[in-house]
Amino acid sequence: MSTKRISKEFAEVSQNPPEGFTITLPPSASLHTWHIVLTPPPSSPFHPGRFGIILTLPTDYPFKPPVVKFITRLYHPNVTNDSLGNVCLGILKPENWKPSTKIAAVLEALRNLMIEPQPDDPLEERIADEYRNDRPAWEAKARELVNRFALEEPVFPAS
């Protein structure tokens, strides 16, 4: 039953993407996996990086929230600093998710997270502490990782 909703959302978002986003479907895949490239605005310390994000829609979507993972490494309090790239986003928590929430809103929240991290709800405690107590050091490291990992076009895994 969710196909209609997903195709509609994909049509809207891909034709008229929110600022800084490019959205594609991986070749020969179902509508349930989206490849997203996010370029944060100049006000973000992650600018001008290009970040690859995989958005997976569960079979129960929109009754269950989508799952979002970064494939590009970044130094961020709310994204695990490993190859998994798990994201902590309030809107995606089961208790906050509502079936009427749209993927556009999720993208919006992701962009805001790149401008303003949420150190009070961290996945990486250490990075959150640094962000709170020594902002210049955090920013330097964040930029360093952008230069190391995020200047090329993100490469999405084949499957």
Partner: protein, 533 residues
Amino acid sequence: MDSEEEYMSPMSSGDEIMPDDSGDEVSGAEDFDEDDFDEPDPDFGLSAKDMDKKKVAAHTVSFKVYEPSDIRRQQEEMMSDVNMILDMSKEDAAILLRHFRWNKERLLEDYMDHPEKVLEAAGLSSNSASQPKLQAVPGFVCDICCEDEEGLQTFAMKCGHRYCVDCYRHYLTQKIQDEGESARIQCPSDGCGRILDARSLDLLVTPELTDRYHELLNRTYVEDKDTFKWCPAPDCPNAIECGVKKKDLDRIVPTVECLCGYRFCFGCPNPDHQPAPCDLVKRWLKKCADDSETANWISAHTKECPKCSSTIEKNGGCNHMTCRKCKYEFCWMCMGLWSEHGTSWYNCNRYEEKSGAEARDAQTKSRTSLERYLHYYNRYANHEQSAKLDKDIAQKTEKKMVQLQTTSGMSWIEVQYLNSASQALQTCRQTLKWTYAFAFYLAKNNLTSIFEDNQKDLEMAVENLSEMFEKPIQELADPKLKVDIMDKTSYCNKRRVILLEDTAENLAKGKTATRPFLVYDFPLTKTYRQMDV
């Protein structure tokens, strides 16, 4: 098995037997009973007399047990009250009551002040008199599934967020079945906090879910009220009400007993742990579970190789140690290099050095502290083990009673004294177990020696009773032994009450006493905590 048995059996049956017996001892036993009868089984009718007695006894709290029908009836009564006072339908009253977490007084007060605001907040604005209904809206597109078929059945609450019935149902099924929610399910719209009322839910929820939904709804009553708790015994559907306050938990141990016979603490998630207060129990359990005690043993019985830091236990022999791992040779006494000992083989004369003396001191302290802990722990664990055998004992008792009836020709009622004895053993052992955890944290003063005397008296009585209780059937048939067991049973129960009462009084006074009754951070304990690191 325990529910029926414990419900039927305890002391009150003893009550009935006592007069059957002849002799002087009986009257003595009866006197005991007068004192402690209401104590081991407080569920036996909460008459006004009982309640009064409970207020007097320092180690008991007053509480009530409710069966599922009582819980439903209470909700009904509150609904009717609100229904009468505020002149609204029972369904609306229920929604309001759930919104106010069953605090009727606050509901009425708030409603009198701002009726519109209250109704609005609970999802019942004044024009909601019309029943919730399904509608087909021309040109409607469901925002969830994007379905736009003509004649699609839709539903919306007062907030106006309209979705198709299928999506609404799917949403509710997920909330009720997967997430176990009932009274506080929100509108599916993003950012809308309106709570789905029971009437709308009844309309939308599929028949298979209705029962589950109403069961969950019924449960929220107990969960919403701070003074209510479910009985934690497996499969027990009862709830218990107890008004004990959180801030009093350092002075009161609120043990309650369900109709099913399960005794538990109302203040924490543990089974009955009188006389020890909840906080102490938490510390004790953590202490026993912690690996720190293992580390402690290691620090008292082993040393580290000065070179490779392997842990070494000296199991006899001389002081000349050779580490098996790195082959380092050192002296067990001073931990120094063995070759530096020169000619003083097998006798370390550097032993008296100041640093050596300090190290030895620390080791001794650690050992004393460990022994102190082990002293209490072993006794605690011993009684716990016995408590675990309670079920076997209870079963054995039953068998014994049957045997006794056939061998001695005693009637059922005449052998009930064995059941009373078994009950007393179980309850007293549970208490004894916790007296040892409690004693570990006791300050050394005269109150403590009184406590230890009480503990000793109870323990002796329990062991005596236990010994008699396990005698072979032939001897149990002896009327003399029967009287002895009955006496001892009463005596055990009485000693237990005395111990609990004394301790409870001291705990209650604890805050004002110049010398503290309980010391959580014992000087000794502190020392060996440092050793752990």
